[in-house]
């Protein structure tokens, strides 16, 4: 066991409760400013209204912060919770954790879901959720030891900087010869020096005998973590079996789990092969449909895209079981063994890369004009090691590259870095600078919204052009899908509660490939049902991949194939079997609707959550530049002439761009109206009083907040 020098600041011995029907029925609160450790009860009302996972996180965060709290105030909390189904080892995709905090880039509530063992181990150690407030004086570790029944705040010195080495050492130290008993949450030096820090959640890969990682990437949660001086959160738990989660009906659980698990084993090899290639198959498919972002979302395809697609990574990925939770048959968390970086502190050494997944390939590859699979892997590796979100890094740097190529910034601003698209050495150098807190990397690390301000104020760059091409909304960088031709997906991004991340609604295929939702009302219905059902996974500690990435062979014959109702029904049975709470598919939607609306109201509390904050940059809606228009001229001309009945014969490209823009922006506004109406919100995008009453979230503070914003009965 390595000798690590820890100074004990506070220890709480506790009697670990038995988990009952998926709940530990208490939460853990740690305040790093005064070293207080407290255990709080979970009430029946909390379970009824918020279910668990993200719901519990939001309730704890709501009570921890005021409307005036900023991300770097000590009272801001980082909350982590799995959910009542989290930790089930026989049902695929049942090991997720949800993390929430006030984001440094959006100023409002951020949530990010992540694999790894932490959330389930936390629950089995006696806590449905963890909230960490305050700010430690020195670098600190919080240990939750469910085996010995103690929570400790430990000051640590001399720990390694990066996430990989930190987690490796802590896994070895606290594992006491059983490293699988440990899960570590850590960040890295990049999280300290940027606003796009991520968290690495570890799981122990027994086959390869090493700690592996999944990331809670979005919205700078790692930055909050680093700012609080948290070096790591460590949880220690023992063996996990079906009975560890104490399901209400053991047999019913086993029955439905077997159905879903077996179906995946049978069908995944015939469909997307996620157990072999993860989500990399999406790269070439997106490219074929002109949906793969390239060069800062200017274009949707590139001839070199297959170089970073599944057929390449299939050969690079290390073979073996890659489930980020015990017993998951999707097992899509692939990695690269013995990878040798050619830059940075690990230059020339053999390392293990956890990834890349689709988002990282598109963000750190095609969107930067980089089509080399090994550079993508190296960017992936260092983003994780430094604690930086690969999506915000990719989208942020893509924006800077376009500004460089457009002449808005130049070498005097970048410290001499040549930032043209495709320059992989510059991309890597920017990343290393982020970790060191130096140079232009530090500027890119502020994210797109702040870069726009810096470039305008300090370098005199064109504000309106940057507003059009800067791919952020609500302060969060877009994830990696092209939305120009999918109005529904524009809504999927723009109307998402935390900012443009596709976890709420991924409607591109339904909208433009299958044309399932031609009317505004159909799009609005989809922008109600899909965000609600997808929210439900985050309440329960589940991964959504088993729902719709492996599909029953007879699904296409069902009434609503997009919803995969056979699986939705299985999930309702799963919830009932574990919690004893009888549920139908409609009940799952109702559960989510409460939490979803509560999060919208939470945004309002923080000064956001209204129509103006649902705006998206025009690059997400249509062609900004003449090059973009001309590259798809046939498509745009046809739309203007045939669909919109415009006479474009004598019009210049610039005039046609303006015409198309007016039409498309009006459509987005109409879509917002339709979605707000469907969700029971005002035309300003605020939940109506009748809506919060119907959902049972009409707490006095909520009602007062709505009334102060002019919402009347």
């Amino acid at each position: 066991m390595p000798e690590l020098g820890f100074k004990e600041i506070r220890t709480l011995q506790y009697s670990r409760p038995s988990v009952e029907k998926g709940y530990a029925n208490q939460t853990l609160a740690v305040n790093l400013s005064n070293s207080e450790i407290a255990v709080k009860p979970v009430t029946a009302q909390m379970k009824e209204i918020f279910v668990g996972g993200k719901g519990f996180d939001l309730w704890l965060l709501w009570n921890a912060v005021k409307g005036t709290t900023r991300w770097d105030d000590p009272e801001n909390a980082i909350c982590i919770s799995s959910g009542p189904l989290g930790g089930t080892p026989i049902y695929p995709g049942s090991g997720k954790s949800i993390v929430t905090t006030l984001s440094p880039t959006t100023g409002s509530v951020m949530d990010s879901n992540v694999g790894g063992y932490f959330g389930p181990y936390l629950k089995f150690s006696g806590f449905d959720a963890l909230e960490v407030q305050g700010k430690a004086v020195g670098e600190t570790i919080v240990l939750i030891d469910g085996i010995e029944g103690k929570v400790q705040i430990l000051e640590c010195g001399g720990m390694p900087e990066d996430a990989y080495e930190t987690s490796r050492m802590l896994t070895e130290h606290f594992g006491q010869g059983k490293p699988r008993n440990i899960s570590v949450v850590s960040s890295g030096p990049g999280a300290k020096h940027t606003l796009m820090g991520c968290l690495n959640f570890s799981w122990y890969d027994a086959g390869r005998k090493r700690a592996r990682y999944k990331q809670a990437g979005r919205g700078g949660i790692g930055t909050v973590f680093a700012h609080k001086n948290i070096k790591a959160l460590v949880v220690r738990w023992d063996t996990v079996t079906v009975s560890t989660n104490q399901p209400a009906d053991d047999e019913a659980l086993k029955e439905v789990a077997k159905l879903h698990s077996r179906e995946i084993v049978e069908l995944d090899p015939k469909q997307n092969e996620m157990a072999k290639i993860g989500t990399t198959h999406i790269v070439t498919i997106m490219n074929d449909y002109d949906l793969l972002p390239t060069h800062n979302f200017r274009y949707g395809s590139h001839p070199q895209a297959p170089n970073i697609g599944a057929e390449v990574y299939r050969r690079i990925f290390d073979k073996g079981f890659d489930g980020c939770w015990i017993g998951c048959t999707v097992a899509c968390s692939h990695g690269i063994k013995d990878f040798v970086p050619f830059t940075g502190p690990y230059k020339g050494e053999k390392v293990f890369v956890d990834g890349p997944e689709y988002e990282t390939i598109a963000g750190c590859g095609s969107n930067l004009g980089i089509f080399d699979p090994f550079t993508v892997a190296e960017l992936n590796f260092y983003c994780d090691a430094y604690g930086i979100d690969t999506i915000s890094f990719g989208t942020g740097l893509a924006f800077a590259m376009e500004c460089y190529e457009a002449g808005l910034i130049n070498g005097t601003h970048t410290g001499g870095l040549e930032l043209s698209f495709g320059n992989r050495l510059s991309a890597l150098e920017v990343l290393h600078q982020m970790a060191r807190g130096e140079g232009f990397g530090k500027v890119v690390g502020q994210g797109v919204r702040k870069m726009k301000q810096i470039f305008a104020k300090e370098y005199g760059a064109d504000e309106s052009f940057m507003q059009d091409i800067g791919m952020e909304a609500k302060g969060l960088e877009f994830s990696e899908y092209m939305t120009k031709e999918s109005l529904a997906q524009q809504g999927g991004y723009g109307l998402a509660l935390k900012g443009p991340q596709h976890d709420e609604a991924w409607l591109i295929f339904l909208d433009i490939v299958h044309n399932y939702m031609p009317t505004f009302e159909q799009k609005a219905e989809a922008l109600h049902w899909f965000p609600m059902f997808r929210t439900w996974f985050g309440l329960c500690g589940l991964c959504k991949l088993p729902w719709n990435d492996i599909v029953p062979e007879d699904n296409e014959e069902t009434m609503e194939p997009a919803k995969i109702m056979k699986h939705v029904e299985w999930y309702a049975r799963y919830l009932s079997a574990v919690t004893g709470r009888k549920a139908s598919p409609d009940d799952l939607i109702a559960m989510s609707e409460r939490v979803y609306n509560f999060q919208r109201v939470f945004n309002l509390k923080m000064g956001f959550g209204t129509r103006e904050h649902d705006a998206i940059p025009y690059r997400a809606v249509g062609p900004v530049t003449a090059d973009e228009y001309e590259s798809r001229k046939e498509r745009y001309d046809k739309q203007l002439a045939e669909e919109h009945k415009q006479d474009i014969a004598e019009k210049s490209t610039e005039e046609k761009i303006a015409l198309l823009r007016k039409i498309r922006e009006e459509k987005y506004e109409t879509l917002m109206d339709a979605v707000y109406k469907r969700r029971g919100w005002t035309s300003e995008g605020i939940p109506k009083l009748e809506t919060v009453k119907r959902l049972g979230i009409d707490f006095p503070e909520v009602v007062e907040l709505l009334r102060t914003r002019g919402v009347q009965e």
Partner: protein
């Protein structure tokens, strides 16, 4: 002979994915078809030929992401 979703189907030289789908008579708008390990999207159905002995998987990619 090729296999489509595990069932044998006659093959002929030059057969494309688009022709195969027509022969199968399915009205479902498949966006992606796998030919052995290779993923082929609809824009390439017309110009992708199927080799003899191929395993064909009709991939119901719908909600993804």
């Amino acid at each position: 002979m090729i296999k489509v979703r595990g069932k044998e189907h006659p093959w002929r030289e030059g057969m494309t994915i688009a022709e195969l789908l027509k022969e199968l008579g399915s009205s479902y708008p498949y966006a992606v078809v796998r030919v052995n390990e290779k993923v082929v999207s609809r824009p390439h159905f017309e110009n992708t030929t199927i080799p003899d002995q191929a395993e064909i998987y009709l991939v119901p990619m719908i909600s993804g992401g």
